[in-house]
Structures are given as structure tokens and as C-alpha cells.
């Protein structure tokens, strides 16, 4: 039974909830993020997200320690994405990391292509593309006034002067506008290979097929340009995962 009075997801089969719960528990970090819970609330007292959302790290620790799969399923599908991943909750006297529990839960949600994960990441896809293709995240050309109206008129001033102002920064690596700094092609490709070799591209495919396709196309043509064999870089961790299950 869920702890929530307005319990949702009663129609989801308990076996499915248990499967996802067991996937969280099977993560190698599991025994380092939850040791039990005093229910003292220290984590929640220091949690930024608890101030502005209907969200509490203590609830995550309690539910997971009690192995309450109905409530787990609700957390997984509803409030989990409110966590700021600041790890203020690591001040837990029991040495739990509620933020760490949430990291694992989010990975399970993404790996399983849950709708809640797709929804939470909808507005975020462009960033995923940027970081996975370049390794840099906040590019100067993202500073557009229509995207950041609440940051005031300075955003407009920056975007109007962007090219010149970027070139008026002394270190050579910072003269770019499309990247946070100039990243060599070799390094971009190595990053892409890491994502390929560790199955990260499939994770993207689960969440946003469109972004996945663009990413594959752009990076594979860069690989082609550099005469690298694409098929040579399939997920090398996959075989061992399968053997284990």
C-alpha cells in the first residue's frame, strides 16, 4: 500500500513495480547510499527542493529502507526530478545519501524509458546533444534574450556583442561562441567513443529518439572524416551485463 492518501498507479502491476525497485537495489552503489534511516529529518531541513516543491529526501530514505514498492513507484514517476542533486542531504547522521538514492532511481527511469523521464527531460534535450557531442555544456550562444528574459536586459547586450566580446577574452581557448571553450576533434571523438562503449547512446535513444539520431549522424560523419571505423566502437560492456542477468 502506498503511503499517499491519493495513491496513484494502482493499475500498475506489482511485479512491474518490484522489477524497477530491484533494478535500483542491484546498482553497485546501493549499499553506499542507504544504511537505514532515523527519520530525523536533517536531510529535509537542508534540502533546497524541499522548500519549494512537495518533496522530501527523508521520504526517499524511508520508503526505500522499508522497501515499500508502491510508494517507490510514485516517487519514481512523480517528484523524483525535483531533486537539485546538491547533496546537502549528505549531512545525514546515518551516512545516507538521499541524493545518491535519487541518482540511481533516475538512471533506472531513463534506462527503462519511463514517460516521467521523457517528460522531465523534454526541454533539456538540446543540452544533452551539446554535451554529448562536445563535452561542453553552456555555450555562449545559448545566451539569447528570448530564452532568458528573466535575466534582464544584459542578456540582450551580451548576445548583441557576443562575437566581439568573446574575442576580447585573452585566453585562446575561449574565443568560441558555439562551445564553452575550443575542444579538439580528437577529444570530441574520444568522448563519443566513451558514450558508445558504455551504452550511453542507447540511454539517449530511450528518452529522445530525435536527439539520438542527430547525435549519431553528426558524430559518425566526424568519425568518417577521421577514417575511424564506427562498427569498431559498439558497447563493450553490453556482453558482460547480459552474461550476468
Amino acid at each position: 500500500m502506498s503511503i499517499y492518501r491519493d495513491a496513484k498507479y494502482a493499475d500498475v502491476a506489482p511485479a512491474e513495480k518490484l522489477r524497477l525497485f530491484n533494478e535500483v537495489k542491484a546498482d553497485f552503489r546501493w549499499h553506499h547510499v542507504l544504511y537505514g534511516c532515523y527519520e530525523c529529518g536533517i536531510c529535509t531541513a537542508s534540502c533546497p527542493s524541499a522548500r519549494f516543491y512537495d518533496f522530501s529526501p527523508r521520504v526517499f530514505a524511508q520508503i526505500m529502507a522499508r522497501e515499500d514498492i508502491d510508494s517507490f513507484y510514485e516517487l519514481l514517476n512523480d517528484v523524483m526530478w525535483s531533486c537539485s542533486q546538491c547533496f546537502s542531504c549528505t549531512r545525514c547522521p546515518r551516512h545516507n545519501s538521499p541524493g545518491g538514492i535519487i541518482t540511481i532511481m533516475r538512471e533506472v527511469a531513463v534506462n527503462n524509458g519511463l514517460d516521467s523521464a521523457k517528460e522531465a527531460l523534454k526541454a533539456y534535450s538540446r543540452i544533452i546533444y551539446k554535451v554529448m557531442s562536445t563535452g561542453t555544456q553552456v555555450a555562449p550562444d545559448m545566451l539569447q534574450p528570448d530564452f532568458f528574459p528573466d535575466w534582464g536586459p544584459d542578456v540582450k547586450r551580451v548576445s548583441e556583442n557576443l562575437d566581439v566580446w568573446r574575442r576580447a577574452i585573452p585566453p585562446d581557448t575561449l574565443h568560441t561562441t558555439e562551445l564553452a571553450w575550443d575542444v579538439s576533434d580528437k577529444t570530441r571523438l574520444q568522448l563519443y567513443m566513451i558514450f558508445k562503449l558504455t551504452g550511453n547512446l542507447e540511454m539517449i535513444e530511450n528518452i529522445d529518439e530525435g536527439i539520438y539520431m542527430i547525435l549519431e549522424e553528426v558524430m559518425e560523419s566526424l568519425m568518417d572524416e577521421k577514417d575511424l571505423d564506427i562498427d569498431d566502437f559498439e558497447n563493450i560492456l553490453e556482453g558482460e551485463e547480459e552474461a550476468e542477468h
Binding site: 553497485f28 552503489r29 537542508s46 527542493s49 522548500r51 516543491y53 526530478w81 537539485s84 542533486q85 546538491c86 546537502s88 549528505t90 549531512r91 541518482t103 533516475r106 538512471e107 531513463v110 522531465a120 526541454a123 533539456y124 543540452i127 544533452i128 554535451v131 554529448m132 562536445t134 563535452g135 555544456q137 553552456v138 555555450a139 545559448m142 545566451l143 532568458f148 528573466d150 535575466w151 534582464g152 544584459d154 566581439v164 566580446w165 574575442r167 576580447a168 577574452i169 585573452p170 585566453p171 585562446d172 581557448t173 575561449l174 574565443h175 564553452a180 571553450w181 577529444t187 574520444q190 568522448l191 566513451i194 558504455t198 551504452g199 550511453n200 540511454m203 528518452i207 566502437f233 563493450i236
Partner: protein, 402 residues
Amino acid sequence: MSHASNGAPTVITPPKVAERIFKRQGNPEKEDYREQLFELEAKGELEVIRVPEPYVEVETKFGRKKKIPLEHTWHHKSCGQCGHIPGYPTSIFWLHRQFGFDYFDPKDQTSCTAWNYYASSTSNPPAQASIAVRNFSQAHVDGYFPFIHCGTSYGHYKETRDQIIHFPKLREQVRRIMDRLNMPFAFPEEIVHYSEWLHVMRDRIAERKVLDLSNVTVSVHPACHYHKLIPEDAIYNDDIYNGQRTSVVTGIAQALGAKVADYSNWHDCCGFGFSHILVNRDFSRSFAAIRKIERMKEEANPDLVLAHDTGCLTTLDKSQFATRAHNRKVGIPVMSDVQFAALAMGAHPYKVCQLHWHGVDNKPLLEKMGIDHEKAWAEFEEQAEKIKSGETQFMTWEEADA
């Protein structure tokens, strides 16, 4: 509510912020990851990148000595700082140049990609660890020691270090990936944040100070991922908050002669939240303005907020514009400890510290610091004009120092 012996409720008045007493207690036992890395190296599992000489030893939270290198550093930039706050890496480089220190600003570097990982979880530990090791190994190949600019990279790499030490299977996975990339498996002896370097350099920087900062009051916001995420090798010092809080940021501000004012929400996060700053900005903004900036204003009334992570700087700075419209008590300039230190040593506020990228009006602060911002802006504009007209392509370090 508790009751006194006569049955009347006891009212507990918390001490005023300024009267808080900090006292360091005993040191808990902690494993020594450095020894563990050397053991792994002895078994041939990885190569430890030694902290190069000259280095300074400082005390960590639980009393271990940590080596902070002064030079031969490979500058691991942050995926966020260069987009919004380019004066932050520029000031780090500028200070290195002023002291004649050898450093390397690589292009063979990716970000740690932890921002994306904390925001979206579209990655996994083998990938995150391989990205860390690839960057570290590249630094090693280049002959330099990794030097981390970002608080989140610093914290995340320490999580990664923990996993690499404790999980042989993950280590094996990373090794196979490094083999595929034709890279060695190298890991640094210490993970060093730039603020730690600034901390050990604070007296040398103060010696070369050209501004009187005694009438400047600052409040400090330390980055969560610096002192909360794997906290044991963050720097603590008995002379600063009696070792009860990390001494970075505060230490340099004090050494430069500024007044550091405490406030009750020192420990709180800035509200950045990774995906939140981009797609749930109302949350980031509310937390930053109401929970941090307003408290600082009410309790400390500082001229300036000093932070040392790109996410914190962005959130605290950019969140103030919209909240001002709601008559909230905001309006405090925000910069990094290293920009402040560079200004104190006479760096150009626009050509080096790049303060024109910041949102909150910092002109009154510059005036208080004795900086002629109008003249400085005219000088910057002159340089920008040369680039615009095609006379030069970029601003050089020599021009920035002129």
C-alpha cells in the same frame, strides 16, 4: 515546546549570527584514498599522477595533509563558466601569469559532464569514470597536473575516485575503455580545486595588493559540491571559523583585508539544481533570491557575494533581476574569489575580470574598491572596437595588461 520546572514554557532564543561560536572537535577516522591509489599503482592497476613540486601542504577537514601544487597545472575548465562568466577562468590564468607560473590550457579536454549527469541521468558510472580518467590521462600525457576549475567537477571526480578504488569491476571496465582509446589509466594523487590554490597563495597575493579593501564587506557562498560531496579532502583551517567550515573563499577575502560577514544560511545551496537553472528557473530564482541573497542582505548587508563555482555564480547573479521587480531585497554583485583577488592585484576589471558579463550592477562596488570603471570601460571598448573593425582578431594578454 519544553517547560521550565515552574511549568512555564521555556523560550529558546538562538544566538545572533555574529555571536556564533565555532570550535573544531575531534577528527573521525577516515580511510586514506591516497594510500589506496598507491597500492593500486603498486599492483600495476593504474598510474598515480604525482603532485609536482613546488607544492604547499594544507589541512583537510579531518586533519590529513593535502598537497596543493603551485604550478605545472593542466587547467580543467568548467562546462558552465566559460559561457556566462569568462572572467573566472581568465582571472585564474592571469594570476598564474603574474607569478610567472607554468600552466597549460588544453583543448584536449572535455568537461566532466557531471552537470548533464546530475540533471538528466543520461549517463552511467563507467562512462563518467572513463571521462574522468581520459581527462586525467591526457593531462599526464601532456606532462601537467590536473587542476579543476569547477566545484561540481571537483566533487564528481571525487565520487569517481571512490568508485574506482572500491569497485574492481568498474576499474576493469574503465581500463578496457582506456585500452580502446589507446590512453593510459592515470589518476591524480590529489584532486585540486582552483580555490585551494588561491587559498595557499593568499598571502603572496595579498603582498601584491594594490587596492585598499578594508571598507568592502563580503559574504561567502561555498559550493555544495566543494564541501558537502565527499567532504573529507576539502580544506579546513583552525584560523578560519575555527575549522568548523571550509576555509577556502573566506581565507582569501580575509587575507586581502576585506570584512567577511556571516549570515544564517551559509550552509544552504544556491538553488542551481542542474536542469532547474535551465528549465525550472522559477525554482532556482526563488531559492537564490529569497533563501540566500535576501538573508545576506538582511543579516550582513554585504557589498559583494563571493562564490567559487560556475553554477553558484550564475544562479546567484542572474536570479536577482526578476526578483527585484517583485520588490524583494536583492541587488548584491556576485563574483568569484579569483576575480576579486585579481582585481585586488590590479587586474583590468573588463579586459581580465570580464565583469561586463555579470548581471547585477557592480559599479558602486568598483567605486568603493577605488576602481575607475568609466575609464576602464572606455579602454575595453577601444580594444573591442579594434576587433570589430578587423584591425586585430583577438585581444592578447599583452593588451589586457596594458
